[in-house]
């Protein structure tokens, strides 16, 4: 177990409005090298859970532990050396090159005022090579296509040399071709580099195709978690989204598929 949340609660606070629970008594355990899918309807707390696991937010109750040590006892830099995040979309305010974006992943490994050295540049190039973006190094990030941008951001997360990678709907704004490409890239990175991954996604078929474990969330609570084959069925889809769906094994694809079924 590399990363875990134990009985974690979090409330979005605001002075006048009544406090609303974003997460209530959530416990998850992420094994080393595992690939976990985080599923649930909009607003169920997936993103909040990812931000808590990354140490970006601090829980109101409960603890998040990295390798059995509470994130509270670790510096942000120490956490960032082992846990990296890939957001849904990244819009820098200035016109950085793809290489500069990837090199920024080295930040937690550099001392204050230290500049990136040859080793950092090598690591950044290697990360770009693994995501097939090394030929884009000198291009302006903002001129890249959606799929290229996301692969550059994944490269910058890899340059961070993490043991855990948290991805928040990494394929949500991509077309089918890029979705498949990113999915197979993630699966390959997970197997070859044994980076544990948690992917929050609305794409049930993506989750079914690459995730070995699923965590199902609704209304800030965990509904179910376990191996994908055991957790993902039409009852679960009905409970999470209120949608009737057929879930069955697809022989050619080699994994479960989810197809919504009309009922009206």
């Amino acid at each position: 177990m590399i990363l875990s949340a134990r009985h974690v609660s979090y409330t979005h606070r605001s002075k006048r409005r009544t406090a609303a629970f974003a997460l209530r008594d959530v416990s998850v355990a992420i094994e080393r090298g595992s690939l976990t899918g985080l599923l649930g309807p909009n607003g169920c707390g997936k993103t909040t859970l990812l931000r808590l696991l990354a140490g970006i937010l601090q829980p109101d109750a409960g603890t998040v532990t990295l390798d059995r040590r509470s994130l509270r006892d670790l510096t942000r830099r120490a956490v960032a050396r082992r846990v990296a995040v890939v957001p849904q979309e990244t819009h820098p305010a200035f016109d950085y090159t793809a290489m500069e974006m990837v090199l920024m992943g080295r930040h937690p490994h550099l001392a204050p005022f230290e500049l990136e050295g040859p080793r950092d540049v090598d690591l950044a190039f290697a990360a770009m090579g693994r995501t097939g973006t090394d030929h884009l190094a000198d291009r302006a990030y903002m001129t890249l296509s959606g799929g290229e941008k996301q692969r550059v951001i994944i490269a910058s997360a890899l340059a961070q040399e993490p043991e855990v990678l948290l991805l928040d709907e990494p394929t949500a704004s991509l077309d089918l071709g890029y979705q498949v490409e990113i999915a197979s890239l993630l699966q390959r990175l997970n197997r070859e580099r044994s980076v544990a991954m948690i992917i929050a996604t609305h794409d049930l078929n993506l989750a079914a195709s690459i995730c070995d474990t699923l965590v199902l969330m609704r209304d800030g609570q965990i509904q179910a978690q376990g191996p994908t084959r055991e957790v993902l069925d039409s009852d679960a889809v009905q409970r999470l989204y209120g949608v009737a769906a057929e879930v069955r094994h697809h022989d050619a694809a080699g994994h479960l598929i989810v197809v919504p079924v009309k009922r009206w």
Binding site: A78, V83, A93, F94, Y96, E100, M101, M104, G105, H107
Partner: protein
């Protein structure tokens, strides 16, 4: 390596401008005679003009230009908005209200070489910065940069109404002095006010030095920065305080001189790229050279009549900025 080269290059430009600018003016001055120690200072006309009349003005220009340009870079990264400048968050509006109050009420409070107008504008700037900061940090756990931006823009509009009101109720001579202050002026009348602004500016510049790589992370996004180990709240606080401090010091010394804080950072980015570890020091140095250069134009173009400096920077900065917008498409 690139950092060293960039700082040396822009540093040389700034030094050269500051050394040459005092030589140019309605009266010719020889640098050799100005530094000639064999003649007593009281008899050395060249030295008098160089050291007493022109050098304080050039140093004030360098200080104000560096402060405004660097503050512009920091505010742009903090707000994640390339169109922000040192005056976006109401600091200059507050400073102007303070200065207007001092100018129109005829206050005679002074500390040493510092006259009431800079002191009042400094107080106004600090007040405005505090209001904006409180608003942006009150409702939520972390600083909200969108609240920061909205509060600053609103406060600026409010302050300009207060300034108009103060001018409306004042007599003509006071209104003229007030208007002249708003146009910006580096004729600070000796080294005293410049020296008085140095400590504030030094604190701001030292704080700026802590920021560059965190500003890179912040301009990608605050969650991205946090996930790379940046203490986002702390960096935002340091950025806001240091940039407000530099802006306050600059405005209290020379009035609200526009466009330096937005044109210089963009010009520098065209040359060195967008990495803040290059942009921040280069902008401070280039800002110094830019404002001293603009002041040179202001003093000499229609000599012996001077054009107010704020008009010159706007005349140069406005068209440049439009060109930049068109060029970026």
């Amino acid at each position: 390596m690139r950092v060293v080269a960039t700082v040396l290059g822009f540093g040389a430009l700034a030094c050269l401008t500051c050394l040459l600018a005092p030589l140019v003016g309605s009266t010719h001055v020889s640098l050799v005679r100005a530094f000639d120690r064999s003649m007593p200072f009281a008899d050395n006309v060249d030295a008098q003009i160089f050291f007493v009349a022109r050098l304080p003005r050039v140093l004030a220009g360098a200080l104000v230009g560096a402060g405004l340009a660097a503050a512009g870079v920091v505010f742009q990264a903090l707000l994640r908005n390339p169109l922000a400048d040192p005056f976006t968050l109401g600091v200059s509006g507050g400073a102007s209200v303070g200065a207007m109050l001092a100018l129109t009420s005829g206050l005679s409070l002074a500390i040493g070489p510092v006259s009431p107008v800079p002191l009042a504008s400094l107080a106004g700037a600090a007040g405005a910065a505090l209001i904006v900061y409180r608003l942006a940090t009150s409702a939520r756990r972390a600083m909200s940069t969108s609240v920061l931006l909205l509060a600053g823009v609103t406060l600026n509009a409010f302050f300009s109404a207060v300034i108009m009101l103060l001018q409306y109720v004042s007599d003509f001579a006071q209104v003229y002095r007030a208007l002249r202050w708003l146009m910006g002026d580096l004729d600070v009348g000796g080294l005293g006010p410049v020296v008085a602004a140095v400590p504030l500016m030094t604190i701001a510049l030292v704080l700026f030095a802590l920021l560059p790589s965190a500003l890179n992370q912040l301009s990608v996004g605050s969650d991205a920065a946090a996930s790379r180990g940046v203490d986002v709240g702390r960096v935002q606080r340091i950025a806001f305080i240091s940039a407000s401090l530099a802006t306050s010091a600059a405005v209290s010394l020379a009035g609200p001189i526009g466009f330096v804080g937005i044109v210089v950072p963009h010009l520098v980015r065209l040359i060195v790229g967008v990495d803040h570890r290059l942009v921040l020091p280069a902008s401070a140095l280039f800002g110094a050279a830019f404002l001293v250069g603009c002041d040179l134009v202001a003093r000499t173009l229609f000599a012996p009549v001077e054009i107010p400096l704020g008009i010159v920077t706007a005349m140069i900065g406005g068209p440049f900025f439009l060109w930049l917008l068109v060029r970026r498409g």
